[in-house]
Amino acid sequence: MKRYKIFKLKWEIIPIIIFLGIWEIIARINLISGHFFFPPFSTVVTEFWYLTVSGVLGPNFLSSLMRVLVGFSAGSIAGLLMGIIMGWNKVTNKALSPIISLIYPIPALGWLPLLMLWFGIGEILPITIIFICSFFPILYNTVTGINNVNKNYIFAARILGASDLKILSTVVVPLALPNIFTGLKLESGMAWRVIIAAEMVAIPTGIGALLMKAESLIRIDIIIVCLIILGVMCLSFENFFTFLEKKLTNRWR
Protein backbone atom coordinates (compact mmCIF):
# COMPACT_ATOMS: atom_id res chain seq x y z
CA MET A 1 0.00 0.00 0.00
CA LYS A 2 2.80 2.37 1.01
CA ARG A 3 4.78 1.47 -2.11
CA TYR A 4 1.72 2.19 -4.20
CA LYS A 5 1.36 5.65 -2.63
CA ILE A 6 4.98 6.56 -3.37
CA PHE A 7 4.58 5.29 -6.91
CA LYS A 8 1.45 7.40 -7.34
CA LEU A 9 3.20 10.49 -5.99
CA LYS A 10 6.06 10.01 -8.48
CA TRP A 11 3.61 9.91 -11.34
CA GLU A 12 1.94 13.10 -10.12
CA ILE A 13 5.29 14.90 -10.03
CA ILE A 14 6.48 13.81 -13.49
CA PRO A 15 3.99 15.91 -15.55
CA ILE A 16 4.82 18.94 -13.40
CA ILE A 17 8.57 18.46 -13.99
CA ILE A 18 7.93 18.08 -17.73
CA PHE A 19 5.77 21.22 -17.76
CA LEU A 20 8.43 23.23 -15.90
CA GLY A 21 11.13 21.90 -18.23
CA ILE A 22 9.17 22.93 -21.34
CA TRP A 23 8.54 26.34 -19.79
CA GLU A 24 12.26 26.80 -19.06
CA ILE A 25 13.27 25.75 -22.61
CA ILE A 26 10.67 27.93 -24.35
CA ALA A 27 11.73 30.96 -22.28
CA ARG A 28 15.48 30.29 -22.77
CA ILE A 29 15.26 29.95 -26.57
CA ASN A 30 13.16 33.14 -26.69
CA LEU A 31 10.22 31.42 -28.33
CA ILE A 32 7.81 33.93 -26.75
CA SER A 33 8.93 37.56 -26.88
CA GLY A 34 11.97 37.38 -24.62
CA HIS A 35 12.76 37.09 -20.91
CA PHE A 36 10.98 40.22 -19.87
CA PHE A 37 7.41 39.11 -20.66
CA PHE A 38 8.00 35.42 -20.30
CA PRO A 39 10.73 34.73 -17.74
CA PRO A 40 12.07 31.19 -17.39
CA PHE A 41 11.10 29.13 -14.38
CA SER A 42 14.60 29.44 -12.91
CA THR A 43 14.23 33.25 -12.87
CA VAL A 44 10.91 32.90 -11.06
CA VAL A 45 12.56 30.64 -8.46
CA THR A 46 15.38 33.15 -8.03
CA GLU A 47 12.86 35.94 -7.59
CA PHE A 48 10.93 33.86 -5.07
CA TRP A 49 14.16 33.41 -3.10
CA TYR A 50 14.99 37.10 -3.34
CA LEU A 51 11.48 38.16 -2.25
CA THR A 52 11.68 35.76 0.70
CA VAL A 53 15.08 36.81 2.02
CA SER A 54 14.39 40.49 1.46
CA GLY A 55 11.32 40.23 3.71
CA VAL A 56 8.78 41.26 1.06
CA LEU A 57 7.00 37.98 0.57
CA GLY A 58 6.75 36.80 4.19
CA PRO A 59 4.63 39.61 5.68
CA ASN A 60 2.37 39.76 2.62
CA PHE A 61 1.88 36.02 2.64
CA LEU A 62 1.19 35.99 6.38
CA SER A 63 -1.35 38.82 6.01
CA SER A 64 -3.26 36.84 3.37
CA LEU A 65 -2.94 33.60 5.33
CA MET A 66 -4.18 35.16 8.55
CA ARG A 67 -7.19 36.71 6.78
CA VAL A 68 -8.10 33.42 5.14
CA LEU A 69 -7.67 31.44 8.36
CA VAL A 70 -9.71 33.82 10.51
CA GLY A 71 -12.41 34.54 7.93
CA PHE A 72 -12.72 30.95 6.76
CA SER A 73 -12.75 29.47 10.28
CA ALA A 74 -15.37 31.95 11.48
CA GLY A 75 -17.49 31.53 8.32
CA SER A 76 -17.28 27.74 8.40
CA ILE A 77 -18.11 27.44 12.10
CA ALA A 78 -21.02 29.87 11.76
CA GLY A 79 -22.24 28.13 8.56
CA LEU A 80 -21.94 24.74 10.21
CA LEU A 81 -23.83 25.76 13.36
CA MET A 82 -26.55 27.57 11.43
CA GLY A 83 -26.76 24.64 8.98
CA ILE A 84 -27.21 22.17 11.84
CA ILE A 85 -29.98 24.30 13.36
CA MET A 86 -31.72 24.78 10.02
CA GLY A 87 -31.29 21.15 8.98
CA TRP A 88 -32.66 19.82 12.26
CA ASN A 89 -35.41 22.33 12.94
CA LYS A 90 -37.99 22.60 10.16
CA VAL A 91 -39.50 25.84 11.52
CA THR A 92 -36.13 27.65 11.57
CA ASN A 93 -35.44 26.31 8.09
CA LYS A 94 -38.74 27.63 6.74
CA ALA A 95 -38.25 31.00 8.43
CA LEU A 96 -34.66 31.59 7.32
CA SER A 97 -34.55 29.88 3.91
CA PRO A 98 -36.16 32.75 1.93
CA ILE A 99 -33.73 35.32 3.37
CA ILE A 100 -30.70 33.13 2.79
CA SER A 101 -31.83 32.18 -0.72
CA LEU A 102 -31.94 35.89 -1.50
CA ILE A 103 -28.47 36.70 -0.12
CA TYR A 104 -26.66 33.53 -1.21
CA PRO A 105 -26.41 34.31 -4.97
CA ILE A 106 -24.62 37.64 -4.34
CA PRO A 107 -20.91 37.01 -5.10
CA ALA A 108 -18.63 37.65 -2.12
CA LEU A 109 -16.78 40.41 -3.98
CA GLY A 110 -20.10 42.13 -4.68
CA TRP A 111 -20.17 43.06 -1.00
CA LEU A 112 -16.85 44.88 -1.29
CA PRO A 113 -18.11 48.45 -1.98
CA LEU A 114 -20.67 48.24 0.81
CA LEU A 115 -18.22 46.76 3.31
CA MET A 116 -15.57 49.36 2.39
CA LEU A 117 -18.03 52.08 3.33
CA TRP A 118 -19.13 50.30 6.48
CA PHE A 119 -15.76 49.13 7.84
CA GLY A 120 -13.20 51.19 5.92
CA ILE A 121 -9.87 49.77 4.71
CA GLY A 122 -8.69 47.53 7.50
CA GLU A 123 -8.39 43.91 8.55
CA ILE A 124 -12.13 43.59 9.21
CA LEU A 125 -12.88 44.13 5.52
CA PRO A 126 -11.10 41.09 3.99
CA ILE A 127 -12.03 38.89 6.95
CA THR A 128 -15.72 39.77 6.48
CA ILE A 129 -15.47 39.07 2.74
CA ILE A 130 -14.00 35.61 3.43
CA PHE A 131 -16.60 35.03 6.14
CA ILE A 132 -19.41 35.72 3.63
CA CYS A 133 -17.69 33.62 0.96
CA SER A 134 -17.46 30.60 3.32
CA PHE A 135 -20.64 30.95 5.36
CA PHE A 136 -23.36 30.39 2.76
CA PRO A 137 -21.97 27.40 0.83
CA ILE A 138 -21.07 25.57 4.05
CA LEU A 139 -24.49 26.34 5.48
CA TYR A 140 -26.15 24.92 2.36
CA ASN A 141 -24.00 21.81 2.33
CA THR A 142 -24.68 21.20 6.02
CA VAL A 143 -28.45 21.58 5.59
CA THR A 144 -28.37 19.25 2.58
CA GLY A 145 -26.22 16.74 4.46
CA ILE A 146 -28.56 16.70 7.44
CA ASN A 147 -31.67 16.44 5.27
CA ASN A 148 -30.09 13.51 3.41
CA VAL A 149 -29.55 11.46 6.57
CA ASN A 150 -31.85 8.45 6.40
CA LYS A 151 -34.72 9.05 8.84
CA ASN A 152 -34.60 5.40 9.87
CA TYR A 153 -31.27 5.99 11.65
CA ILE A 154 -32.97 8.74 13.65
CA PHE A 155 -35.85 6.38 14.48
CA ALA A 156 -33.38 3.70 15.54
CA ALA A 157 -31.51 6.09 17.83
CA ARG A 158 -34.76 7.38 19.31
CA ILE A 159 -36.00 3.87 20.04
CA LEU A 160 -32.69 3.15 21.75
CA GLY A 161 -33.48 5.96 24.19
CA ALA A 162 -31.37 8.80 22.77
CA SER A 163 -32.41 12.43 23.30
CA ASP A 164 -32.62 14.86 20.36
CA LEU A 165 -29.25 16.38 21.23
CA LYS A 166 -27.63 12.96 21.46
CA ILE A 167 -29.15 11.91 18.11
CA LEU A 168 -27.91 15.11 16.52
CA SER A 169 -24.36 14.83 17.84
CA THR A 170 -23.85 11.08 17.49
CA VAL A 171 -25.88 10.15 14.40
CA VAL A 172 -27.02 13.08 12.28
CA VAL A 173 -23.92 15.28 12.17
CA PRO A 174 -21.45 12.39 11.68
CA LEU A 175 -23.58 11.02 8.83
CA ALA A 176 -23.78 14.50 7.26
CA LEU A 177 -19.97 14.82 7.30
CA PRO A 178 -19.42 13.82 3.64
CA ASN A 179 -21.67 16.69 2.51
CA ILE A 180 -20.14 19.11 5.00
CA PHE A 181 -16.65 18.25 3.74
CA THR A 182 -17.69 18.86 0.14
CA GLY A 183 -18.51 22.43 1.18
CA LEU A 184 -15.31 22.83 3.21
CA LYS A 185 -13.09 21.53 0.39
CA LEU A 186 -14.60 23.81 -2.25
CA GLU A 187 -14.73 26.88 -0.06
CA SER A 188 -11.24 26.58 1.40
CA GLY A 189 -9.85 27.01 -2.12
CA MET A 190 -12.43 29.65 -2.94
CA ALA A 191 -11.40 31.66 0.15
CA TRP A 192 -7.90 32.07 -1.32
CA ARG A 193 -9.24 33.10 -4.72
CA VAL A 194 -11.51 35.68 -3.12
CA ILE A 195 -8.89 37.12 -0.74
CA ILE A 196 -6.45 37.66 -3.61
CA ALA A 197 -9.16 39.43 -5.61
CA ALA A 198 -10.15 41.56 -2.61
CA GLU A 199 -6.54 42.51 -1.89
CA MET A 200 -5.99 43.42 -5.53
CA VAL A 201 -8.95 45.78 -5.49
CA ALA A 202 -9.10 47.29 -2.04
CA ILE A 203 -6.44 46.27 0.46
CA PRO A 204 -2.85 47.53 0.44
CA THR A 205 -1.22 44.39 1.94
CA GLY A 206 -1.22 40.69 1.10
CA ILE A 207 -0.39 38.55 -1.91
CA GLY A 208 -3.13 40.23 -3.97
CA ALA A 209 -1.69 43.68 -3.23
CA LEU A 210 1.81 42.44 -4.10
CA LEU A 211 0.40 41.20 -7.42
CA MET A 212 -0.96 44.67 -8.20
CA LYS A 213 2.34 46.33 -7.25
CA ALA A 214 4.21 43.89 -9.51
CA GLU A 215 1.79 44.69 -12.31
CA SER A 216 2.42 48.44 -11.97
CA LEU A 217 6.21 47.78 -12.00
CA ILE A 218 5.80 45.37 -14.95
CA ARG A 219 7.51 42.60 -12.91
CA ILE A 220 6.14 39.46 -14.53
CA ASP A 221 8.44 37.22 -12.50
CA ILE A 222 6.88 38.53 -9.25
CA ILE A 223 3.38 38.12 -10.70
CA ILE A 224 4.15 34.48 -11.48
CA VAL A 225 5.58 33.95 -7.97
CA CYS A 226 2.30 35.27 -6.50
CA LEU A 227 0.18 33.12 -8.82
CA ILE A 228 2.16 29.99 -7.93
CA ILE A 229 1.72 30.76 -4.22
CA LEU A 230 -2.03 31.17 -4.81
CA GLY A 231 -2.21 27.84 -6.66
CA VAL A 232 -0.21 26.00 -4.01
CA MET A 233 -2.29 27.44 -1.16
CA CYS A 234 -5.64 26.59 -2.84
CA LEU A 235 -4.42 23.06 -3.43
CA SER A 236 -2.98 22.67 0.09
CA PHE A 237 -6.18 23.82 1.77
CA GLU A 238 -8.35 21.57 -0.41
CA ASN A 239 -6.00 18.63 0.17
CA PHE A 240 -6.02 19.22 3.91
CA PHE A 241 -9.80 18.83 4.00
CA THR A 242 -9.68 15.83 1.66
CA PHE A 243 -7.20 14.23 4.08
CA LEU A 244 -9.37 15.11 7.09
CA GLU A 245 -12.49 13.74 5.39
CA LYS A 246 -10.75 10.47 4.59
CA LYS A 247 -9.45 10.22 8.15
CA LEU A 248 -12.92 10.74 9.61
CA THR A 249 -15.15 8.88 7.17
CA ASN A 250 -13.13 6.31 5.23
CA ARG A 251 -13.52 3.59 7.86
CA TRP A 252 -17.27 3.40 7.43
CA ARG A 253 -18.03 4.72 3.93
Partner: protein
Amino acid sequence: MSSIKLKDISKYVCKNVNLEIFDKELLVLLGPNGAGKSTLLNIIAGLIDYQGSVFFDHKPVDKLPANKRRIGYLFQELNLFPHIDVAGNIAYGLRAQKQSRNEIRARVENLLQIMKIKHLSSYYPKQLSGGEKQRVALARALANLPRILLLDEPMNSVDYQTSKYLRTEFKILQKKLEITTIYVTHNFYEAEEMADRIAVLDKGKLEQIGLPEEIFFHPTKAVSDFIGESNILNGDYYHRLSF
Protein backbone atom coordinates in the same frame (compact mmCIF):
# COMPACT_ATOMS: atom_id res chain seq x y z
CA MET B 1 -41.87 -7.96 30.58
CA SER B 2 -45.19 -6.62 29.33
CA SER B 3 -48.51 -7.36 27.77
CA ILE B 4 -49.60 -5.04 24.94
CA LYS B 5 -53.08 -3.91 24.10
CA LEU B 6 -54.11 -1.88 21.08
CA LYS B 7 -57.51 -0.22 21.33
CA ASP B 8 -59.27 1.31 18.31
CA ILE B 9 -56.00 2.15 16.58
CA SER B 10 -56.35 4.12 13.35
CA LYS B 11 -53.53 5.40 11.16
CA TYR B 12 -53.02 5.32 7.38
CA VAL B 13 -54.52 2.03 6.16
CA CYS B 14 -55.25 0.75 9.71
CA LYS B 15 -58.81 1.32 10.84
CA ASN B 16 -59.96 0.62 14.41
CA VAL B 17 -57.52 -2.19 15.09
CA ASN B 18 -57.97 -3.96 18.42
CA LEU B 19 -55.32 -6.45 19.42
CA GLU B 20 -53.95 -7.95 22.61
CA ILE B 21 -50.53 -9.55 22.96
CA PHE B 22 -49.95 -11.53 26.12
CA ASP B 23 -46.99 -11.27 28.42
CA LYS B 24 -43.95 -13.25 27.16
CA GLU B 25 -45.84 -14.24 24.02
CA LEU B 26 -44.40 -14.30 20.51
CA LEU B 27 -47.16 -13.02 18.27
CA VAL B 28 -46.61 -13.06 14.53
CA LEU B 29 -48.30 -10.30 12.59
CA LEU B 30 -48.92 -11.81 9.18
CA GLY B 31 -50.17 -10.05 6.09
CA PRO B 32 -49.40 -8.96 2.54
CA ASN B 33 -47.38 -5.87 1.70
CA GLY B 34 -49.29 -2.69 2.51
CA ALA B 35 -51.49 -4.40 5.10
CA GLY B 36 -50.39 -1.98 7.83
CA LYS B 37 -48.09 -4.30 9.78
CA SER B 38 -45.14 -1.90 10.00
CA THR B 39 -47.52 0.94 10.81
CA LEU B 40 -48.76 -0.99 13.84
CA LEU B 41 -45.18 -1.61 14.99
CA ASN B 42 -44.33 2.08 14.61
CA ILE B 43 -47.43 2.97 16.63
CA ILE B 44 -46.45 0.59 19.43
CA ALA B 45 -42.93 2.03 19.36
CA GLY B 46 -44.30 5.58 19.52
CA LEU B 47 -42.54 6.63 16.32
CA ILE B 48 -45.66 8.02 14.63
CA ASP B 49 -48.84 9.79 15.78
CA TYR B 50 -52.04 7.77 15.83
CA GLN B 51 -55.65 7.68 16.94
CA GLY B 52 -56.66 5.21 19.63
CA SER B 53 -54.79 3.89 22.65
CA VAL B 54 -51.83 1.66 23.34
CA PHE B 55 -51.47 -0.03 26.72
CA PHE B 56 -48.39 -1.74 28.17
CA ASP B 57 -49.32 -3.85 31.20
CA HIS B 58 -52.79 -2.22 31.18
CA LYS B 59 -51.27 1.26 31.49
CA PRO B 60 -51.74 3.75 28.62
CA VAL B 61 -48.46 4.80 27.00
CA ASP B 62 -49.83 7.17 24.36
CA LYS B 63 -48.12 10.18 25.90
CA LEU B 64 -44.83 8.33 26.38
CA PRO B 65 -42.24 9.32 23.73
CA ALA B 66 -40.41 6.61 21.78
CA ASN B 67 -37.19 6.97 23.79
CA LYS B 68 -39.04 6.25 27.04
CA ARG B 69 -41.07 3.21 25.99
CA ARG B 70 -38.27 0.68 26.57
CA ILE B 71 -38.76 -1.12 23.30
CA GLY B 72 -36.32 -3.14 21.27
CA TYR B 73 -36.98 -2.67 17.56
CA LEU B 74 -35.37 -4.67 14.79
CA PHE B 75 -36.08 -2.68 11.65
CA GLN B 76 -36.62 -4.22 8.24
CA GLU B 77 -33.49 -2.45 6.95
CA LEU B 78 -31.77 -3.10 10.30
CA ASN B 79 -30.55 0.54 10.41
CA LEU B 80 -27.20 -0.22 11.98
CA PHE B 81 -25.33 3.07 12.32
CA PRO B 82 -22.78 2.84 9.48
CA HIS B 83 -20.24 5.14 11.17
CA ILE B 84 -20.10 3.18 14.44
CA ASP B 85 -18.46 -0.22 14.88
CA VAL B 86 -20.31 -3.33 16.07
CA ALA B 87 -19.51 -2.86 19.77
CA GLY B 88 -20.46 0.81 19.52
CA ASN B 89 -23.75 -0.01 17.82
CA ILE B 90 -24.66 -2.45 20.59
CA ALA B 91 -23.55 0.01 23.27
CA TYR B 92 -25.42 2.95 21.72
CA GLY B 93 -28.62 2.57 23.72
CA LEU B 94 -26.74 1.91 26.94
CA ARG B 95 -24.70 5.08 26.45
CA ALA B 96 -27.87 7.02 25.63
CA GLN B 97 -29.31 5.78 28.94
CA LYS B 98 -26.10 6.94 30.67
CA GLN B 99 -25.17 3.54 32.07
CA SER B 100 -21.79 3.26 33.75
CA ARG B 101 -18.76 2.34 31.64
CA ASN B 102 -18.26 -0.98 33.38
CA GLU B 103 -21.89 -1.88 33.00
CA ILE B 104 -21.80 -1.04 29.29
CA ARG B 105 -18.65 -3.08 28.75
CA ALA B 106 -20.05 -6.10 30.58
CA ARG B 107 -23.39 -5.97 28.80
CA VAL B 108 -21.82 -5.58 25.34
CA GLU B 109 -19.42 -8.47 26.04
CA ASN B 110 -22.33 -10.61 27.14
CA LEU B 111 -24.41 -9.83 24.04
CA LEU B 112 -21.46 -10.36 21.70
CA GLN B 113 -21.07 -13.77 23.28
CA ILE B 114 -24.78 -14.69 23.16
CA MET B 115 -25.01 -13.65 19.51
CA LYS B 116 -21.69 -15.36 18.66
CA ILE B 117 -20.23 -12.20 17.14
CA LYS B 118 -17.39 -11.48 19.54
CA HIS B 119 -14.85 -11.62 16.71
CA LEU B 120 -16.75 -8.85 14.89
CA SER B 121 -16.76 -6.28 17.68
CA SER B 122 -14.46 -3.79 15.94
CA TYR B 123 -15.95 -4.24 12.45
CA TYR B 124 -18.10 -1.63 10.75
CA PRO B 125 -21.53 -2.60 9.36
CA LYS B 126 -20.32 -2.37 5.74
CA GLN B 127 -17.85 -5.18 6.50
CA LEU B 128 -20.54 -7.60 7.71
CA SER B 129 -22.62 -10.20 5.89
CA GLY B 130 -26.44 -10.11 5.99
CA GLY B 131 -26.62 -12.70 8.77
CA GLU B 132 -23.96 -10.97 10.85
CA LYS B 133 -25.74 -7.64 10.51
CA GLN B 134 -28.91 -9.37 11.65
CA ARG B 135 -27.21 -10.61 14.83
CA VAL B 136 -25.70 -7.21 15.58
CA ALA B 137 -29.06 -5.51 15.11
CA LEU B 138 -30.73 -8.02 17.43
CA ALA B 139 -27.99 -7.57 20.03
CA ARG B 140 -28.46 -3.81 19.83
CA ALA B 141 -32.21 -4.16 20.21
CA LEU B 142 -31.78 -6.34 23.30
CA ALA B 143 -29.02 -4.29 24.94
CA ASN B 144 -31.31 -1.97 26.90
CA LEU B 145 -33.25 -4.91 28.38
CA PRO B 146 -36.45 -3.86 26.60
CA ARG B 147 -39.81 -5.00 27.91
CA ILE B 148 -41.12 -5.51 24.37
CA LEU B 149 -39.35 -6.61 21.21
CA LEU B 150 -40.61 -5.64 17.75
CA LEU B 151 -39.21 -7.36 14.67
CA ASP B 152 -40.18 -6.00 11.28
CA GLU B 153 -39.61 -8.65 8.59
CA PRO B 154 -36.18 -9.34 10.06
CA MET B 155 -35.29 -12.16 7.67
CA ASN B 156 -35.85 -10.18 4.48
CA SER B 157 -32.21 -9.49 3.73
CA VAL B 158 -30.76 -12.94 4.42
CA ASP B 159 -30.69 -16.11 2.34
CA TYR B 160 -33.00 -19.04 3.09
CA GLN B 161 -30.46 -21.16 4.99
CA THR B 162 -29.27 -18.31 7.19
CA SER B 163 -32.83 -17.22 7.77
CA LYS B 164 -33.84 -20.71 8.89
CA TYR B 165 -30.87 -20.95 11.26
CA LEU B 166 -31.43 -17.47 12.69
CA ARG B 167 -35.14 -18.13 13.20
CA THR B 168 -34.45 -21.25 15.24
CA GLU B 169 -31.85 -19.41 17.30
CA PHE B 170 -34.14 -16.47 17.82
CA LYS B 171 -37.05 -18.62 18.92
CA ILE B 172 -34.87 -20.27 21.57
CA LEU B 173 -33.54 -16.89 22.69
CA GLN B 174 -37.03 -15.40 22.93
CA LYS B 175 -38.20 -18.22 25.17
CA LYS B 176 -35.06 -17.95 27.29
CA LEU B 177 -35.38 -14.17 27.72
CA GLU B 178 -39.18 -14.42 28.12
CA ILE B 179 -39.66 -11.18 26.23
CA THR B 180 -43.01 -10.19 24.75
CA THR B 181 -42.41 -10.11 21.00
CA ILE B 182 -44.23 -9.06 17.85
CA TYR B 183 -42.74 -10.55 14.70
CA VAL B 184 -43.91 -9.15 11.39
CA THR B 185 -43.75 -11.22 8.23
CA HIS B 186 -45.62 -11.83 4.98
CA ASN B 187 -44.42 -15.43 4.83
CA PHE B 188 -46.93 -17.92 6.25
CA TYR B 189 -44.41 -20.72 6.75
CA GLU B 190 -42.11 -18.39 8.69
CA ALA B 191 -45.11 -17.34 10.77
CA GLU B 192 -46.18 -20.90 11.45
CA GLU B 193 -42.66 -21.84 12.53
CA MET B 194 -42.15 -18.90 14.87
CA ALA B 195 -45.52 -18.03 16.38
CA ASP B 196 -47.20 -18.75 19.68
CA ARG B 197 -50.16 -17.06 18.00
CA ILE B 198 -50.68 -15.53 14.57
CA ALA B 199 -52.66 -12.36 13.83
CA VAL B 200 -53.53 -11.92 10.16
CA LEU B 201 -53.81 -8.34 8.98
CA ASP B 202 -55.12 -7.31 5.58
CA LYS B 203 -55.82 -3.79 4.29
CA GLY B 204 -55.47 -2.45 7.82
CA LYS B 205 -58.07 -4.83 9.22
CA LEU B 206 -57.42 -7.65 11.66
CA GLU B 207 -58.86 -10.66 9.78
CA GLN B 208 -58.09 -13.52 12.15
CA ILE B 209 -56.12 -14.27 15.27
CA GLY B 210 -55.32 -17.64 16.77
CA LEU B 211 -52.89 -20.50 17.17
CA PRO B 212 -50.92 -21.39 14.01
CA GLU B 213 -52.90 -24.61 13.54
CA GLU B 214 -56.21 -22.73 13.84
CA ILE B 215 -55.14 -20.33 11.10
CA PHE B 216 -53.80 -23.16 8.98
CA PHE B 217 -56.73 -25.55 9.30
CA HIS B 218 -59.59 -23.11 9.73
CA PRO B 219 -58.77 -19.90 7.90
CA THR B 220 -61.48 -17.33 7.36
CA LYS B 221 -62.32 -16.48 3.75
CA ALA B 222 -60.06 -13.40 3.64
CA VAL B 223 -57.20 -15.29 5.29
CA SER B 224 -57.44 -18.26 2.96
CA ASP B 225 -57.34 -15.82 0.03
CA PHE B 226 -54.00 -14.61 1.35
CA ILE B 227 -52.31 -17.79 2.61
CA GLY B 228 -53.99 -20.09 0.10
CA GLU B 229 -56.47 -22.79 0.97
CA SER B 230 -54.85 -25.82 2.61
CA ASN B 231 -55.23 -28.95 0.55
CA ILE B 232 -56.48 -31.38 3.25
CA LEU B 233 -57.60 -34.90 2.43
CA ASN B 234 -59.29 -37.04 5.06
CA GLY B 235 -57.91 -40.54 5.46
CA ASP B 236 -57.67 -43.48 7.84
CA TYR B 237 -54.45 -44.59 9.38
CA TYR B 238 -53.56 -48.26 9.28
CA HIS B 239 -50.59 -49.58 11.12
CA ARG B 240 -48.91 -52.06 8.85
CA LEU B 241 -46.79 -54.67 10.52
CA SER B 242 -43.63 -55.50 8.74
CA PHE B 243 -42.80 -59.17 8.29
